[in-house]
Symmetry: none
Subunit: 218 residues, 4 copies
């Protein structure tokens, strides 16, 4: 049920190596900064202090480094989504769980996000990365399901267009980590996540204390 590549095709040793993990992390940092395509294997090798050809001792292509990073990320994210759904709370609680777990996954996979944002076109077209589209479909389906359930339960607005709302939300979801480290003076991921949930549930409008209507008088 997981997305992760089977280790079978290459010697297991290659996948386990500590050096290899180092290189993936290193490459990830560069991808996070400049995007996948814009990062050359030479740059990765330079950062690792080796020659570019030497990378191919550990990976059989640049793509496979990307694969490893993306698959790991989506595995984590989907894991969080599925766990949230499996907990079987009410839709609002489920969404809260989802958002919190996403924030965690994002924090631990900084590179994957940039890669998906910058190079989505590049990856999504290749058969090798078919799982990207599949994962996106599953994520959308979970959101839409929860939003509809919330409507049915009277928790969310009855006039909510669930698929459209998901679309509107989608990119916002990626934001918490998009903040450059140190770019958000004094606000940690938790605060950002809370602000997001607050915005999602309640919007920005102040609760109308004395007025009957929520809408303004003009």
């Amino acid at each position: 049920m997981t997305i992760a590549k089977k280790a079978a095709d290459r010697p297991a040793a290659a996948l386990a190596s500590a050096r290899r993990a180092d290189l993936v992390r290193l490459a990830g940092e560069l991808f996070a900064e400049k995007g996948f395509r814009a990062t050359t294997v030479r740059e990765i090798a330079d950062a690792a202090g080796i020659l570019s050809g030497s990378l191919y001792h550990h990976f059989d292509s640049k793509e496979s480094i990307g694969d490893e990073i993306l698959a790991g990320f989506l595995n984590d994210v989907l894991g969080g989504y599925r766990a949230a759904v499996a907990a079987e709370s009410d839709p609002r609680a489920t969404i809260e769980r989802i958002v919190h777990s996403s924030a965690t996954a994002l924090t631990e996979h900084r590179a994957a996000l940039t890669m998906l944002q910058n190079d989505w076109n590049h990856f999504s077209g290749q058969p090798r990365f078919a799982y990207l589209r599949a994962a996106m479909r599953e994520i959308e389906q979970i959101w839409v399901t929860q939003l509809e359930a919330g409507k049915a339960a009277g928790l969310f607005r009855a006039d909510l267009d669930a698929p459209l709302t998901y679309r509107l939300l989608r990119d916002m979801l990626w934001i918490p980590i998009h903040h450059r480290p140190g770019g958000d003076r004094g606000r940690g991921p938790d605060q950002v996540t809370e602000a997001f949930l607050r915005l999602l549930f309640d919007g920005i409008t102040a609760a109308a204390p004395a007025r009957k209507a929520r809408r303004r008088t003009a």
Copy 2:
């Protein structure tokens, strides 16, 4: 005060040329589909039915085509923002104006959005595209100003973190056009815009008719 390149830089004929405009549009469509960097000048030339070298009769570089597209877009967008602010209504009305004008600009400049999303890193680093960062700063400043004003006027929640809210919102703003044409069965740009505003102002929670309070997540 506008961003557009001075016409003086290049032969007036070139700028006036209908062929040139055609080529920019054509290139824009390709950029919208695949991103700026991922589109080769050969592809643009192929689409135009000429050889790649011939493009350099019209433009002195691929970058300058991108420049033209982005500058035109940001000019429109900033125009809308400034007009909204100049109208001097209350913050909520101003924000509505901003969102509506953004939706219009986005519809007319499909290519620019994809370029900014996919190739932001590429452009934002170059001095030539310094105006991109400047425009983004102006846009952020206008949003933050309006959000703060709304708080001061008691329209928006007092606990709103304006800069953070803007960040959360930002990518959502780009969405309306991101929908592939025909991808949103039956929903036109207007409906999408309305849904966005509704989400922004009120969130997804149903108005609690009989309940005491709606209250937050913690």
Copy 3:
């Protein structure tokens, strides 16, 4: 019915160019000398007096140069075979026609032979070169058919194993031109072809005028 690639996918100009034809001929000479894989694009470019990258203005890959050479050759060869069969003479005359036309094709496509001999494994595995296998099958089938017809007509030995005989013959067929130019002092292609036909029809044994019988191999 021909093997030649449709010109449709690339601008017709590219296929027609005189320069392009020059380059194919040039590459062919190198392939003939050293084999396809053993020849680098740099060598081809050097021979043409340009940089290796410039070759890609004319071809989209080294493989496609090989494709052009091989397809042209097989087209000629198969043309000769089909014409020989269409002439509807007796099998011996048909085989003579086939051998003569093969000798001609070989003389005009020196490179193709070396490529097929040295790099058969390389090409025959790729889907792009599926026509190679198809052509070989057709050639074999024509030979076997003619050999069987000759047996039925009493022209060829009744104990002839047609498929096996073709196998034995096959490589011999390609030889006439394989002789390095100047390597066969005084013998032109015609003499070689005649010697081949004589060997094929009569073997090397002298006609036994007065002797009783000559033995067999046990």
Copy 4:
């Protein structure tokens, strides 16, 4: 007078090692399938279940594996040729001996043939493999001598061009084993060899019924 490398060059242990012999056999199988150059040391190592670097404990280069295989093969083949000549029968019997011994050698050295066919250019240029050219010269010389002797004895056609006939024959000689295992339903090496000799001596033409008869009655 043998071609085999002097054992003195490398530690006796290495030559004696059973593991080493295994590796040569293994490499040979891969060479037979894909050719020498097209087979990477990594593939050989993979097949042996070790890492590519570890091969260099047994051989000092990939070339030296090829050397071992080719030298062994040519040693066997030349041995057969020389023995056939030393038997001092008539030319026809000598040729029969040669062909039979070649067939045996080929059966036992499948890899060597593919290597010579695919990578002749690669090897024949190197000083280290000078013995290849020498062996080929000796083989040709023996054939030509036997053919000429047969002509002088009135056994072979007086108009036979001996060097040219050898050239025509040459590739056919290698065939018997070239048949993929299982590719020749029901025909073993012996049958193939007989068919070859029959073709060589008598050609494919049926004995002319009304003439005295060149051939037997069947």
